[in-house]
């Protein structure tokens, strides 16, 4: 493969640095995944709890390589007509109406039904040619001239059938369109594919087998501080470590949905808007709904706020 700017993926360290300069803090595993994805030409399946930066990784890679990021959001009922291609039915209909008039000219001189049909056959399948093809994300990614980053988001939300549909794309970087033939990616500029999954259901072994598998867990306190620093640079250092400590404590609790990194970032931004210097009980009480998204979670945390805040302050 020879995508442009691929010197930015030269080694794991280089990738880490480049990501950091684009405000994405990648650990060794993540950087290794990107490195291997490019050099082995394999898709990466990223799993992990929501909000740890799975989608962001794909976007940042696209930005890093200065390539287009084509995104396919998966949902239940997604099928090939939405993911790969569709025929432009309207255009086909319109053309048939228009061409009705010229039919006579075409069939001029033909005697009998069989001759007419023979003449018609000479036209070939014009209605099923590239002009009438509406490319969808997967096809777009394969046809892209300078390569691209293809993000297949939340693949676990799609059906089993769709997963099987992806297999051809993921192993050979090609899709088959019955009426036209097989569309293949340029051998030197295959798309860099990222799939993300929230693990709402098991992804099939066939799909997993074709991918590198990266699991991104919740970050530890140090890494989270770095991430907050990169994303919300204007926050003061002591407030940063206080709120990271607080969130880390929350993750230990038994909650319906524990706060992810994206929530920590939101919280940091909120605190800046409120011009707060340090964490205290009232402040936490008022802004708890930024990090906890369920009323029952908020209710179960509320009585603990005092202890949690004290702990966070002490450890900071």
């Amino acid at each position: 493969m020879a995508l442009k700017n691929d010197d930015r993926l030269a080694s794991v360290d280089v990738i880490q640095q480049n990501f950091e300069s684009r405000n994405y803090i990648a650990n060794k595993q993540i950087a290794t995944a990107v490195f291997l994805a490019y050099h082995l030409e394999k898709p990466v399946l990223i799993e992990g709890p929501p909000g740890v930066g799975k989608t962001e990784l794909a976007k940042t890679t696209a930005e890093l390589l200065d390539l287009e990021c084509i995104r396919l959001q998966c949902y239940e009922g997604l099928d090939e007509s939405k993911a790969i291609y569709e025929w432009k039915y309207g255009k086909q209909l319109l053309y048939t109406q228009v061409l009705k008039e010229t039919l006579d000219e075409v069939l001029q001189g033909a005697k009998g039904l069989s001759q007419s049909i023979e003449k018609l056959h000479e036209f070939g399948d014009i209605f099923f040619s590239n002009e009438f093809l509406e490319p969808r994300p997967l096809l777009k990614a394969l046809r892209s001239n300078e390569g691209c980053v293809l993000l297949i988001d939340e693949v676990d939300k799609s059906d089993h059938e769709f997963e099987s549909l992806l297999l051809e794309m993921l192993s050979d970087f090609q899709v088959s369109i019955p009426e036209i033939g097989t569309v293949k990616a340029h051998t030197d500029r295959k798309p860099l594919v990222f799939l993300t999954s929230n693990n709402t259901r098991e992804i099939s072994d066939a799909l997993k087998r074709r991918c590198l598998h990266l699991y991104i867990p919740f970050p530890d306190a140090d890494l989270e501080k770095q991430i907050i620093h990169a994303r919300v640079p204007e926050i003061a250092e002591n407030l940063r470590s206080q709120l990271v400590n607080f969130v880390q404590e929350l993750r230990e609790m038994d909650l319906k949905k524990v706060p992810a990194i994206s929530e920590t970032i939101d919280w940091a931004r909120t605190l800046i808007l409120l011009h707060s210097e340090t964490l205290d009980q009232d402040l936490v009480n008022q802004t708890l709904n930024v990090i906890l998204k369920f009323q029952e979670d908020i209710e179960s945390v509320e009585p603990e706020i005092a202890t949690l805040t004290n702990k966070a302050l002490k450890n900071a």
């Binding site: 794991v12 799993e47 098991e202």
Partner: protein
Amino acid sequence: MDQTLVEFVKTLRTAEIKVSPAETLDAMACLDRVGYDDREFLKNSLALVLSKTPEEKEAFDTCFENFFNFDHFEDSDFLRHDDDENAGEGDGDSNFEASGNSGEASSGGGQGASGATPEDLPELKLQPESELGRMLMSGDRNRLTVALVEAGREVGVTDIVVFTQKGLYTRKIMDAMGGKALGEEITELQGHGGIQQKMLSGALKKHRDRLRDRIRDYVEKQFFLHADESGKQLREELLKKVKLSNIEKRNFKDVQEVVIKMAKKLISIHSKRRKTFKRGQLDIRKTLRKNMQYDGMFFDIKWKAQKVDRPKVMAICDVSGSVSNYSRFLLMFLFSLAEILPKIRSFAFSSDLGEVTDLFEHSTLEDAMAKTMRDFGNGSTDYGQMLADFKSHCMKDVNNKTTIIILGDARNNYGDPKNEVLREIYDKCQRVIWLNPEPKMSWSVGDSEMKKYAAACHQVEVCNSLVHLERVVGNLLRNVS
């Protein structure tokens, strides 16, 4: 080199990480790119290619650490001898590839050479004849490591299955390394009588003993790497077949694991089935109506979606003393199956029937079991009473989609069996399945009423092991979904 990777993959498989041949190939491509130089890099890369769930990643971690860890000849005192020859050092990386089994291992310090020479002993001038002896005396750790691993490979140490084979494999490896020739040489030297010969034989003996220790160590590691998990698989297989009543208390935890695994398997099979039904048949009426706007051309085709009826299962368990062991497992199994059978209701009885559905939903498995046993267990069995209770409480919920599973030995202490009540239930529901832990032979013996009840059941099965249970529940799901 490839051999190393293949062996590593084999290790992973015994640790229940599923690695397909295609993934092995991927790993090789990955190795070409990554190389053995940077251990962490290698580990991260292989983890990406070979382990595909968080659990597998954890197992992978331990496997990697165990497998690419090689310290057999590193102990400082081993092979320290009176020779000046400093052969112990080797290039770590090249050795790594050659020995085919180590990580950053035996690059070890330059420890191999020269311990203090005891002053009062004359210098040892004789060289041993046998190859192994020479190797030992030269103190070349790398060569010894290679020889050890090769010998291990030769005798197939990775096939070790049980603990007691350790001695056997240790001896086999010793033999493969040329231990026999060494032994003969030692005996011969001792018989010779000269001071030099005596010294040499002493030194050789000492080295041989140490080598044996090392080999035993090595075998032990291989055992943990290869046999521990396969031993577990063996145990699980056995547990599935053994009669439920014979399973001992200490194995309950294993059984629970097996049960959950089985349930998961069934769930994954049957939840997939549900999806394939989704499109169903062409719905002509709907399609016609929808396509009026396209001038009667069929662009938008509508399908008749088939609705899948989930089985409504009611499970009734006899928890009286005689069969409590069995019901325990059925309850356990049903507990785990709740995910695909959302409408399951569980009952327990000795004489009076009680519903335990709520209990199952709101407490952990152990709690639920214990409470059920406490509340309903250990009375004397009365099937007649149970059926009467069922009729009065639950008959209104029974319809032609209900499947009723009864687990019990049908031993009614010569009481009134009330099989006409079961007949009524039989007429009203979809299926009655009776699972009897006793073998067919004893169904008509003593106070067993099985023959009478069997007439009012759709299906009667002997069920006394997990394999039976899996089959019955699997069939149940297939029939109703």
